[in-house]
């Protein structure tokens, strides 16, 4: 008697695990619901085994309730599957992934801190006149400094640097 109970509990566990693996792996909507029903039947076997073991009817009544809820679930699931099939003409559960949160990527990546690359400017030798320390007057005449050619070149270079 106890060996029978133990065997039936293991058998219910086997049915439950088969249903769970099917639910995790299958992608067709109907087969996922069939896997759910398989899990429920495994639970029913457990309930019946304990009902017989304890010699009362509580487990059987719970199994009747499980059966009732399974029937309700099958009816609503079929209605849902039919209306979903009318929308997209596929039974793939992945077609409805956009019902989930789409802003979050599926593979959560590590947050990256953006580092500004250090800008390196070319270092030029200072040349010519500094217009801040010695402002150039409006009537500035480069010819008055004497060496016209070199000054003109240095002012041009300072202008391009600024």
């Amino acid at each position: 008697m106890n060996e029978t109970t133990q065997n039936l509990l293991v058998f219910g566990g086997v049915l439950f695990v088969i249903g769970m693996v099917g639910f995790l792996t299958r992608r067709s909507l109907i087969l996922m619901f069939l896997s759910l029903e398989m899990m429920l039947s495994g639970v029913s076997v457990n309930l019946i085994a304990f009902s017989r073991h304890h010699q009362n009817y509580q487990g059987q009544i719970l199994a009747v309730m499980v059966l009732t809820i399974a029937a309700c679930e099958a009816a609503i699931a079929l209605a849902l599957v039919v209306s979903l099939y009318r929308r997209k003409a596929t039974l793939d559960v992945a077609a409805w992934d956009d019902l989930s949160e789409t802003l979050i990527p599926k593979v959560i990546e590590a947050p990256q801190t953006l580092e500004e690359p250090a800008m390196e400017f070319p270092k030029l030798t200072p040349a010519g006149l500094d217009p801040l320390s010695r402002p150039i007057s409006a009537n500035f005449d480069a010819q008055s400094l004497g060496n016209g050619e070199s000054v003109k070149a240095s002012t041009l270079e300072a202008g391009t640097n600024a």
Binding site: M1, N2, E3, T4, T5, Q6, L9, V10, F11, G13, V14, L15, F16, V17, I18, G19, M20, V21, G22, L24, R27, S28, I30, L34, E37, M38, S41, S44, V45, I48, A49, S51, R52, H53, H54, Q55, N56, Y57, Q58, Q60, I61, A63, V64, M65, L67, T68, I69, A71, C72, E73, A74, A75, I76, L78, A79, S83, Y85, T90, L91, A94
Partner: protein, 291 residues
């Protein structure tokens, strides 16, 4: 109501489990069944791991030849026969074990079939065999209701929808599965845990009958309502524990359902009604004139 109260008060016995938290006097307890023995061995892990590995091989297309599958089936039959050699079983236990084996085979077929229709047929096989197991456990009403509801209604309607949506060629979502490796690993660990918990020492508590607490007249068959009845029941248990249940079981189930669990039955009926209305509302096709 008065009749029901008298009915409850007249019942003197009920099944008392140690988990009830009540500690009745030891004299009023009659142990009907001893606690379970430890039958756990590490070799029970071998078929679980082999099953997971075989599932992975089938899923990845390594095993395609029918010879491999036939060899697996033959080894499964040999393993069952080897296990039966250790069991000093009766004819009923052999029938029960064969029902369990057929149900497991149907479940494996459900799990590994590519065609959805074949998967549904494997599921139907598993459910019908589970009905046989329940029948052997003398849960006659549950077996009949499961056969009618699952195999009769649910499977047929699901097959209708499958054939309605079925194309001639296999779709990609029938071939490529979601994470079979992870699922097989989780399933193997869960099944190993269940097996270890169930078959370890004193996992199933002994069943005692407490004569001090009366809870329901429907909790026990009528043959247990007196000391002499208990003695007679213990004598019957020595022959076959199922003997004293079978004739009155379904009647007792209905009695318990409509006395002790009347509210639950009403709530279940309400849930059925709500589900019917919801299914009709969901499946209704909205026409263009309404919108």
């Amino acid at each position: 109501m008065n009749l029901l109260n008298n009915y409850f008060l007249n019942s003197a016995f009920l099944a008392q489990t140690p988990t009830d938290g009540v500690d009745p006097s030891a004299a009023s307890q009659i142990v009907l069944q001893a606690a379970s023995v430890n039958v756990w061995t590490s070799s029970m892990l071998v078929p679980i791991v082999l099953g997971a590995v075989g599932y992975m091989l089938i899923q990845h297309g390594v095993v395609k030849s029918k010879a491999f599958l036939g060899g697996g089936a033959v080894s499964l039959v040999l393993a069952v026969g080897f296990a039966l050699g250790f069991t000093p079983g009766t004819f009923e236990s052999y029938v029960l074990m064969s029902f369990c084996a057929v149900a497991t085979g149907g479940g494996i077929g459900f799990l590994t079939a590519r065609e959805p229709v074949y998967a549904a047929l494997g599921f139907a096989t598993a459910v019908l065999s589970v009905c046989g197991v329940l029948f052997m456990q003398s849960a006659l009403f549950i077996a009949a209701a499961t056969m009618i509801v699952y195999a009769g209604a649910t499977i047929i309607i699901f097959l209708f929808v499958l054939m309605f949506a079925q194309q001639t060629e296999l779709r990609t979502y029938d071939i490529q599965l979601n994470n079979p490796l992870v699922a097989a690993a989780i399933g193997a660990v869960l099944l190993a845990t269940i097996t270890m918990c169930v078959t370890s020492d004193n996992a199933i508590m002994p069943v005692k009958v407490d004569s001090t607490r009366a809870m329901s007249a429907a909790s026990l068959p009528d043959s247990l309502s007196s000391e002499a009845g208990i003695e007679a029941a213990k004598k019957l248990d020595a022959i076959d524990p199922a003997l004293r249940y079978v004739p009155k079981l379904t009647a007792g189930l209905g009695r318990s359902m409509y006395t002790d669990y009347l509210l639950a039955v009403e709530l279940a009926g309400t849930v059925l009604l709500v589900a019917t209305i919801g299914a009709i509302a969901l499946a209704q096709r909205t026409t263009e004139t309404q919108s």
